[in-house]
Chain length 413, copies 2
Amino acid sequence: MKQSNLFTKTLKEAPKGEASVNAKLLIRAGFIHKEMAGVYAFLPLGLRVMEKIKQIITEEMDALGGEQVSLTALQNPEVWKKSGRWDDKVVDNWFKTKFVNGADAGIANTHEEPLTNLMKEYVNSWRDLPRYVYQFQTKFRNELRVKSGLIRVREFLMKDLYSFSRTEEEFKDFYEKCAASYLKIFSRIGLKDYVFRTFASGGSFCKFSDEFQAVSEAGEDIIYIDQKKKIAINKEVYQDEVLAELGLKKADLEEKKAIEIGNIFPLGTKYSSALGLTFKDKNGKDKPVIMGCYGIGLGRLMGTIAEIFHDERGIIWPKTVAPFQVHLLSLGQNKKSEKLYQDLQKKGIEVLYDDRKDKSAGEKFAEADLIGIPYRIVVSEKTLGKNSVEIKERDKKELKIVKLENLLKIRNW
Amino acid sequence: MKQSNLFTKTLKEAPKGEASVNAKLLIRAGFIHKEMAGVYAFLPLGLRVMEKIKQIITEEMDALGGEQVSLTALQNPEVWKKSGRWDDKVVDNWFKTKFVNGADAGIANTHEEPLTNLMKEYVNSWRDLPRYVYQFQTKFRNELRVKSGLIRVREFLMKDLYSFSRTEEEFKDFYEKCAASYLKIFSRIGLKDYVFRTFASGGSFCKFSDEFQAVSEAGEDIIYIDQKKKIAINKEVYQDEVLAELGLKKADLEEKKAIEIGNIFPLGTKYSSALGLTFKDKNGKDKPVIMGCYGIGLGRLMGTIAEIFHDERGIIWPKTVAPFQVHLLSLGQNKKSEKLYQDLQKKGIEVLYDDRKDKSAGEKFAEADLIGIPYRIVVSEKTLGKNSVEIKERDKKELKIVKLENLLKIRNW
């Protein structure tokens, strides 16, 4: 994409009231726009990052046997009354609205109830199970306070998968597969060294659930990490008897702030019993389906990446989720640069081409650092004198001079 | 995909209260699920069709120079008060809600106001224009009555593009390009012979706008078609003076029912003036930006396809938007079929493979017709006896027997 065609511009200042690093950088670089507190629109660069994240998650969910659907935002109160969660005293962050005829409707904050209800149409026998159904759908949470930019918001895109199993064993088998899949996803996204599977409270459902926590000073959670075992425990269950049960020792644990970027949760038969989702087992006996839910907030993940990977000049995107692989800067050499732009794209490389004539070299460098694309290629009179371009990786200091004829032979951008 | 892994099943009966052909067929075939009146979830087969439609529209919008964003559902009343459209007397189909602190919020029914407001951040000079910004985003419309399945609903995915131009001429040039792009989109989707660019009322904005109407008995609109000129006029402006102005003659016009599957609309400076979106022209003078909007409802398009392309046995998907190209039916021959399933997929062909062992041939044939995938391939003892499979196109009666060795050589599925 030519930067002269990009409608967004980098901004010198972040809007007032944005305290978090991720929101400041993402707004200044033109990835997101603040509509209201906790409500952000995604601009072309930001949407590209979201699509990259979405694609990685889709591949891994499909590999688990997931089937993708898209449920609705508008919610039928009758379905939620069956589980007791329509009540504002039970769920305190509903957005509710009314149909023009006066009837109540909810705006979805999660989707256990509608999906459980939907599955009743298709699950009758043990032959219809197990099933793994997921979606990318907006969640609305009427939070009293929001902060931390994309980390805690009122409207966000979530990948939520729900498992429907026949036995506790079948459920646990999938639960562990999904946990492994989550670590793979976060690893592919560039967060391998930062993410820990973390024991947390299971709330009213069960003893424990599992969170995936990314170590960051911007985190709202406190976790205790066992670096050798590559696991952690959330402060909320950091008690002697729990540590003993999990085989963790205080001496091995390190306290860190962290951002919860995913969670997986045994639901047992809470929703299947409440909504009547049963199956006939091999003996013809009706049994409630055993469920689990598995969530990743995509915007929060993007915000976490910006929190973890940045320096004083801007964002440093991991290659797998960067909006483009290459940022091509023309310093008054648009003819040669245009040719290179076309050639790189023909090789399947995603290029943001800074073809703007009214920007100085200094402005272009500063904007490239702020936007944070992994490779910066500079085409200038000086480099062309040596029939070369200058390449710099965003996270390295080293400048390389590469002959034009060798540039297109580079394999791993 | 293996049909044994598909959680949906075809249903013998449509739910009570669904009168429309599109909803009956799409629900029975497992493409959509009715959550409430006018609120439908998309199931795996339906989501695949939506993604195909989305991809075609994306390609054409990008070809027009469109830049993709994703705005929010939650809306700030202050932005809408500036245009006067927060008022329920002006816009009568808002869904509104409240933040936990008691402040009002809207649930987006369209996005002119927030996008105009957003563009103020990035448009200052004539050098920043023209811009074409689009998204795929859910719209919420609090309709008093819904009917016709996916044709008129309360929550739906829309592609909406907004143009920002400096002069009337620049605006009109894009408007015509977008009109041509819309005809191309509908043609690619398989509706070429059914869609007419249709003169319609411009409402409070302008004299005329343009609708894209698909001829169908399920339509709510009446249009008058000039088949030779390949254009039409909506009944709402079917008056002698308008016909004269457009150079149309009553004698050449044919009355038809039609479904509005797209519209393009000059907005003039209504929103830019109200919200203060101006640019400095070459003489340094502030001028309001000239806008247009361009919408396509994706679910409505899917419903329209089902209305137009079906027979008494089920849906007949056009190849470009079908959930799969090939429906492979194994009649007790899963070993040979599995091999063929793998081979076809290796060639990049999307295959739904009916590997189910508990279904009769008759049940499989009936389900295949209901689901409506373009090519049905049957593998049976009989066909394998001739080292062949049987191929039938969904919209033809003819059965072809094709040698296994020739099957993979077929180029155009």
